[in-house]
Each structure stands twice: as C-alpha cells, then as structure tokens.
C-alpha cells in the first residue's frame, strides 16, 4: 500500500508500507552500515528514532535469535529502498516484515533513499512522520508533535537484575543497555549486576564491584538528572570504570567536559578510528550526533585516547588519576567489526590489575 514519509521541512517521499500500518512520529536519521539491520533496529540507542538505510536491499538475511540487541525494536520507523522478503519456514521463524508488524513499527520501502540521505546530510536530523496520506492535516500533526527527551527513562531498567557468571563482578549502570555488552561480559564469564541509572553510590558499593560499566543509551545525556554525574564522580574513584556511548558522554560531563553537536551525525561502521598512543587504525560501529568538545577537556583530569580520523571527533577519554576510561564508539561488535572488542580486553586487564593491587 502507498504510504508517505513527511519531514518537518515539508519534504515528502512516497513509498510502499511494510511492517505495521500505523502512523508514526520520530526523529529521522540515516545509517550507512551495510550489515546488521536487525541489531540496529533493536538497539535501544535508537529509541524514538526513524532510520533510513543506505544499504539498498534490506531483509535478505532474515531475523535471527542471536542478533537481537533488545527483545523488541527500539525504532519508530524504518525506511529502505528494497525490502527483500524471505520466507518464514522451519529454519527461519521470523522475517523483518512480520517482526515489525508484531511490534507495531511501520516501515516504508521503494523510497529513493539516496535522495533522502543526500537531503538529510544537508539538513541534519529532523522530525518526521510516516502516514497514509501526505495532506495538510498530517503536516500539522507533525509540526505539533513534541518528541520526548525521556528516551533513557523509556528504555533503561527500573529494577536491578543479575546476569550471573563465575568471574569478576561487574556492575553495569543501565542507560539503555544493549545485549552486545552483556554478551561481551559473558565472554569473560563476568558476574554481572545491572542497576538502574537512578541507583545510589551505596547501592553500587555494597555490591563490591571489581569493575563498573556505564552503558550505552539513547538521546541527549544532558537531559538526565545531575545525580547521575555525581554518581559517576564517586564511582570512578572506587573501581575500574568503562563508559560506552552515552556512558562515555556522561563520563566526560562528570569530569567537566562539554558536548558539541557534530557537523554531521554519524551512524555507520566505516570511519577510521585511531588509537592515539599506538597510531593503530581500526573500525567500529558508531552512532552519534554529539561528541565531546575537544577544547572543553580539562587536560589535568582527562586525556584523549581515540579519534575519528574523518572529522577529528573525540572517540575516547581516559582519566589521569583513576582507572577510568570511556569510548564513544561501540566496542561490543553487535553489529560491527570485531577488532573494536579489544576495548573489553583493556577493561578486564584493568580490572585484574585492580583486584590484584587493591583488595
């Protein structure tokens, strides 16, 4: 069925609907990754957003149990050029269309996605809606819609839970945790406790963690309560700490750096990232609209460990006093290049060192 995508600036795209036939609103961004659509649409960092895929054929790899980053899609809409349907049979129990239908997420295909991406690359992300008819009413509705800035609250856990293992005890502060991080911690047989971001210092410390992870999450970290920064300021002095994505941004804010919007948002896995100390270049999944403002970093507290070689954006920070560091990119490789998982090896090395010398 013919449906329409309307952008806040009035641009309209026509396409065919798939997934749920619902009307949807969200912030529209584009993604250049050629693989991992299932991981991307279920990643909580995209809560409330609509994603345009540059990869022109989406769906041929199906939907698989091992590729969920959360149990349901996080996105509000999906725009692709060609939807390549695969059957649902003995081996493939789910496909993309059915998955989106089940979770009431609309999709739009047969869209000139390259035109849309070239447009968005100039305007930046915008509010957008997928509707049946592109009439004045739909435009008015879009203009009147206020998108939530409570994405973390929407996706993060409200209650603590455990993911037991026999190794080191890692506390994860959840801002919209994706499964990839838990999978990586599982690889190290970590004994994991996931705590809500509203948790107190005491609650964390009574668990006697060997290491702490500030998880990835959606939205603007500045919309979170200041208590989160206070929590980080204390925790970083108590145990090895790794901040990822939103967790990295919060770690920077807690140490008095500021954030600045990127000249163009980057969602993909093809930018070279350089580890400054070794000059090694590697690639990782990235999804960011903001970066830590390079000039705002207090060099007495933090130093830059990784940079994006395309736009020079800060991709990692390390604390000078404490065993605390953070990365803007996603080192859990779900989806994305495996070389980035070295960050977890670094983290666990720090944890081992800490356990050996401090307890």
């Amino acid at each position: 069925m013919k449906r329409h995508l309307i952008l806040e600036d009035g641009t309209v795209f026509e396409g065919l609907g798939f997934g749920a036939p619902a009307t949807t609103f969200g912030e529209i961004i584009f993604h250049t990754a050629m693989t991992g659509y299932q991981e991307i649409i279920t990643d909580p960092i995209y809560d409330g957003q609509m994603i345009v895929f540059a990869m022109p054929v989406i769906g041929a790899a199906g939907i698989h149990a091992e590729a969920y980053e959360s149990v349901k899609p996080a996105i509000r809409g999906m725009i692709v050029h060609d939807l390549a349907e695969v059957s649902v049979n003995r081996q493939r129990r789910m496909n993309l269309d059915r998955f989106l239908k089940q979770h009431n997420v609309p999709g739009l295909y047969q869209v000139d996605t390259r035109k849309l991406i070239r447009h968005l690359r100039e305007t930046g992300p915008q509010k957008a809606t997928i509707v049946d008819f592109a009439d004045d009413h739909a435009v008015d509705q879009l203009v009147a819609t206020v998108l939530t800035n409570k994405q973390v609250q929407n996706t993060a856990t409200l209650k603590p839970y455990a993911n037991p293992g026999r190794g080191r005890h890692i506390v994860v502060i959840d801002f919209g945790l994706k499964h990839g991080i838990l999978r990586m911690l599982g690889d190290y047989d970590a004994n994991v406790s996931v705590l809500p971001y509203t948790t107190s210092v005491d609650e964390v410390l009574t668990l006697d963690p060997d290491g702490i992870i500030l998880s990835t999450g959606p939205g603007d970290p500045r919309s979170l309560p200041d208590s989160v920064l206070t929590l980080i300021r204390v925790l970083q002095t108590k145990a090895p700490l790794l901040g990822i994505g939103l967790g990295h941004e919060l770690f920077a804010l807690a140490n008095d750096a500021t954030l600045a919007p990127l000249s163009s948002e980057h969602h993909g896995m093809n930018h070279p990232i350089q580890e400054i100390i070794s000059r090694q270049i590697f690639f990782a999944m990235q999804g960011q609209g903001y970066a830590v403002d390079n000039d705002s970093i207090d060099r007495k507290k933090l130093f830059v460990t990784y940079r994006d070689l395309v736009d020079g954006a800060v991709q990692g920070l390390r604390h000078r006093e404490y065993p605390a560091f953070s990365v803007q990119f996603f080192p859990d490789a779900a989806p994305g290049p495996l070389e980035a998982t070295a960050v977890f090896a670094d983290f666990f090395e720090t944890v081992e060192d800490y356990v050996e010398h401090h307890s």
Binding site: M34, H81, Q110, D112, P272, R279
Partner: protein, 833 residues
Amino acid sequence: MSNITANNVLFIGAGANDFGREAEYDAAIYQVMPELRGHGVNVYLIDENPYSLSLESLAATAIWQPLTVENIKAVIKQYQIDTVLPLFGGERALRLWSQTVQAWSHGDGPVPQTLGLTIDMLLRVNNVAVLTSMMADAGLPVITNHVAKAQEDANELLREIKLPLMVRALHPNQANTRQIVERLDEFETAVNSAKSQSMTQEIVISRAINGMKEVSLEVLRDFRGNKMQIGASEDMDPIGIHTADSLSVSPTLTLSDQILEKMRFYAFQVADLLDLRGVLHVQFAVDDLTNTIYIIKISPYIDQMASRMALVTGYPVMLVAINLAMGVALEEIVLSHDFGKKMAMMEPMMDHVTVKLPIFPFGELEQAGVSVNRQLNSIQKSVGSTIGFGRTFIEALEKAIRSAHFNNASFSPTNMSHSSDDALIQQLIHPEDNRVLLLVEAIKRGYEIDELAELTNIDEFFFYQLGHLLKLELEVEQQADSVEALRRAKKYGLSDGLLARFWQTNFKNIATLAHENHIEPTFKALEPSAGEFPENARQYYATYEEENESLPVSDDTVLVIGSGAFRMGDAAAGGYATTIVLSELRRLQYHTVIMNNNASDATLLQNLADKQYLEPLEISDVMKVVALEKPIAIIVPGNRRKLIDALTDLKQNVLILPKEKHVPNGPDDTETEFALNVFSDGHNIYPINITQHMTGELRIVPEIAQLPIQLAQTHLENPGVYQVIWYQDTSEWVKHVDVPDISHDTWLRPMPFGQVAFMSKVMQVQWLRMTVRALLSRMTLQDNELLVNVNKLILQADVAMIASDINYALHLQPTQTIDGTRFEIGVGIKYDE
C-alpha cells in the same frame, strides 16, 4: 613519507591473457605507474602481451620481452633494478619472481628487494601445502591438505579422506585448477590431470566442501599493521562451481553481520600473518546454518576481485595498493583531487547492488562447430564477465544479462519449456551456463523454493528474487501499453527492448511511451561513502528513482561506447582499443564520456574519462546517456552494426572504429594467410606492410608493401587500419610474396584490434590514435608525412606474435583441437633467435 628506499623499480607484467587472466593486471599497472613516478623513482616494466597498454605508457621504460627467468634477470642487470613489484602481475608474476629468486646465483649480485611481501613469504604463498599448514598453526580455519606424488600414496589418501575430494597441483606451472572428485572412477583422471599441471608432479588432496556458500572478502594492510575491508561478494552458485563461473553479488545480501565480521577478522589475521603491505583477496566457504567457515584460498596480490571491488565500490584500490607497497601508511596516503580527501582510509560503503555475470565461449565455439563440455564445475570455463549496477538485485541482474549480450539459443526463454521435468532436475543438479533461466523455469513449473534451494544449494533469497522477476514479467506481458506496468518494469531494470518483445512493438515506441509519461531514468553517482559525504563522483549508473545526480559534462563531449566483456576472439584487445581512444581524445582536449560494463580492463579507470556510465550497451541504454550528455560525436566499435544503424537512424553523429562483426578466421595447418595491411584516413589509402599468418604465429614479411591500383582507387569511408586477406597453400615463412589480383580470391576487412595493438608496438606507430585523429579530422602534417613513408619504416621485424599456451583441453574439454590464433584468448611474442 614512504619508508622504502628504491631507485629503479621493476613491474613484472601478467603476460598473455588466459582463463582467469584478463586485462585487470595490465590495467592496474597502467594506473599505478604514474603514481609510482610521483614517488620519485624510475619505473620499468617487463611484459610480453602485445595487447598491453602499460607497455605503451610514457610513465615507464617498457621492456617487451617474453616473461622468463632469464629475461627478468637480464633486465635487472641491464637497468640496475633494485626493487621488484610482482604483486601487480598476479599469480603468474608472483611465481615467476619466486623462480627468479630461487635461480639467483652468487655472481648475480644482490637480490633486488621485493615490495609488498617478503621473499620468504612469497615462496610460502606459492606452496599451497606450506601456506595451509602455516594458517592452521595460526589457528585459522583451513581444510587439511595432503601432498602425494605416487598414485599409491594418492590411493592411500583416498581411503583416509571421504569423498568428495578436491585435487590440485602442487607447484602448478600455469594457473592452478581445482578438480572435484565425487565418484571413485573419476579419481585417477583427476590425479593425472593435476600431476600434469605440477612442475614437480606432486598433487594436493583435501576434503571437498561442495555445496557451501562461496564468499570473497577484499582487505588491505599497511606496514604499520592497519587493516581495512574494501568489499565483499557472495556467489549465488555454491562451492563446486568455479567462482569465476558463478553469478556473484556485491555487496553480500544473504549473510548476517556476525558471519561477515568473523570472516573479516580471519582475513585480517591472514594479512598480519603474511606481514602484507597491499591488498588481499580471501575466499571462504560458509555454511550459515551451522556457522561454519573455512578459508579456501588466499591471494595477496591484485586479481579479478581487486579490480571488481575497485569498480563496484568506487574505492581507488590500485592507487592505494601501490602506496601501501611503497611503505606509505594508510592515514598518510594522498590521493589526487579526483578522489575524496579521506577516501583512502574510509571503508567503502555501497548504496547500490552489483551483479557479476560470467561470459562463456560456448556460443562462438558452437557456431564454428566445436562442441565442448558445458557443465559448470570447479574448473573455470568462462572467459570474461560483465557487471550490472542497480538499486535492487533484480535490476542489477537484468542489466548484467543485458550487458552480456547473449546471442546463443540456450539463453532463449522459449527453449526452456521443451525440457522434460527429469531433464530439468538433472540440469539443476549439474548446471550449465544458462542456469539462471533454468531456475526461473523451475519456479515457473511450481517447484517449492525449499526443495529447489536444497537441490541446488542456492540461497532461498535468490529464488524469491527470481520468482518476483517471473511474476513481474508475466504481469507486464499481459498489460500491453499500460503506463503503470511500464513504470514497474522500468523500476526493476527491464529494457525497452524486452518490453517491446513482450508487447510486440519496437523499442522506440516503448521509449516514446515512457517519455510521454515522464518515466525517465535517473543517474545515481557511484561513490564509496553511500551518500554520507559529497564526493567528486565521476561514475554513474542508471536507475528509475526520483533524483538524478548526473549533469552534462560539456558541450564538446565525445561519447565512447566500450566493447563490454571479454569474449573468445580478439575482444581481449577491445579494452586496449577503447582505452587508447579515450586517451587520444583527452590529448586532443575533448571532454570524454565512456559507457562500459567490464571490470577487467582499463576502460573504466576513474581518471581516464571525464565521466563513466556503468551501463549495458544496447541502443536504449545508449540513447538515455545521449539524451543527457548530448555528445558531439559517438565512437562505436564497428562490430556493433545494429547499434550503429539505430544511432544513425536517430540522427546521431556516429564515428565508427573499424572492427569486424565476426570472430576472424585463421588459417588451418596446411595453408597460410597473408595480409596486405593499409591505413585509410577516410580519403586516401596508404600501404603499411604485409604479414604472414600460419597456425599459431604471425610475422611481418620483410619487404616494402606496394598498393595495388584497384585498392588505391577504393574508397574506405571509415578511417582505420584494414587488411586485404588472401590464402596460399604454403607452410614456409617467406621473404617475398606477390600481392594477387585483389578483384578475386581476396577480401578486405578491418585489422583485428589485437593485430593493431601488436603492429603499433612493433612499428612504434600509434595506429589507433591516428585513427581517432582521422575520425575527427584532426590529422597533422607529421601524420601525413608518416603515412606516405610508412611502408618503408620497418622492413624486418624480429618479433612475431604467437598463440599462447592455453590449456583448452583442461578448461573446455573440446571434441577437437582449438586453434589458439583462431579462437584466441591470449597471445604472446617470440623474438628471432
């Protein structure tokens, strides 16, 4: 920035064209030699191929010699070569350089340094057994190899390893082929065949993994150990069919991120293991239901995958590769302004789909009454390939099929309906060149996709896509003249020609209907950021979308129609001809636009023309580009008669590059073919020389050629090199021959491009450039002076063109001998002793 000290650098060329050896190496060397000069070194090249472009490049000192260890050693000595670059000449150059190093003796002085791979590693790469165990030791997933020499040892292994088996030659003397043994009675033949290919009569036996998916990754590595993925492709056909003979898709569509990331990780590990400074092609066997991955082949040098990835991603693979070899770090590579600033270190992303379709020589051979084994297996049978670009798999497939110009009957859809169900099943299990149509026919007959996928080991995705195409075609066929049907058909890449056939009209009516209803093609840029950044794109493909990105180049554009895929015959020289034409047009300061669809030659190099259209070359495709670019002239190879007529009919200024429509015949064993070669500038005819051609060899007759009166009075409208052909019953090389009365028993034809390339090198006269100048009325005084005296220019040439040693028996199993100068794939040269 380079960390290499080099003064005199030698490239080893790839030699004659062969199965799996088209012009990709020559194109790569041609492209990187000027870049290397930019590093301040003297560049030398040794190659034997008369069709080589690089040998005519001004960026290097070219040595036109047969590729032998002795010649390479002599060149090294003569030119004080201190550095050798074998990685751009492919597998053969690599082997040749290994042999040279092994044959190096104390008195030869220091061994020149090898760029890209250490000598030690080079020797290991050339020994598949050593290489495999090295990878196994590093924990990489490889299939265990067993080396055998005697038949008894082989039989012993046969008892140990279960069928099916794969048998290959150790230390192959030519290209290495893999033979799959499924039945016991095939074993001995395979062993003997592999032995005969081995320089040491040793063979490698391993378990065959037929039926798994074949996936290729192209990665690169710099001297600091930085690695990057350039691209990946998946074959539709499973392992068991040679990858060159497979329909292949890039980017991969059916594989999950997890599987691909694992392969990428393995490929990076291999690059590190080799301490490579360059590009690496890794072939994998994958079973994505059980998550099983094997590395089946590694090629740490330029090959067809490297040139294909360069074309389909827009990433400058070759220019980056030469920088890596020269020890420039990835982040420090500076590309010319033709490319985006950070492009070298960004992994290319694709927002289009490409389908590579192999071209088989069966049609040409059938026409000449030579029948061959058409069944596809692990030994390559295709001689070329073509690529379709689109925004969907179907669109890319349709365009690839159109680019392939199938003219043999087995590709006619109506032919299919005659086969019985049993025959169909048999053919599905033992596929031939027409398998795509066969799959469509199977769907048409109602076979379940589950069953078909199981039977053929082809991913279900492809059946859904073909089913979709079938449904679309049936619907369109029933809705003659429907604008909606036309719109849908165009979106999926169906050509005006095909629609005209469905609706029993001609393509012009379809074009008019589309035009009247604003169904117009849009040209999308092909660039490696997938829209993320504005890039200086020069490459475009047509699709039916909303936004067009291509603007006319200029008001003095010359459009050049390429010659498409390599075919048996002299089309191997087609790419040479097209490239020279482009180069000459640029020298004459025209703006140039090229249309072509072949990744394996130089015609689509980004800096050779102002714009490239990666498109099929049928009239409807050409006219869409013409409508946009409004060229002042269109240069078309003369064998494209229908296209020439159609363009002329549409009032286009067509300039014909003389070329025969049919594969040129050659003499048989008892006769000799003589040719009086002449040049026409469109007004006058000038004699060049006389050549003598006997089976497998062509020589220049050492005498001054005169123009017979009748010929002097003939008018040849299209400028170019022509030849008057006659036959005599001699089998001796002559020093003199009388030109017969040309009014009977002779015929006039354009000189095949291959001979033009040879003649240009022998005489140091650029005949194709002269042709271009004549076509555009830009002949100079020097040109005219040269033409008047050209028949005295060279009396005795010490070099002859010879058929190269191509193993037709292995690849095609023909019923009779295939004469290498008649059904030519590649040629070499020979000097008088």
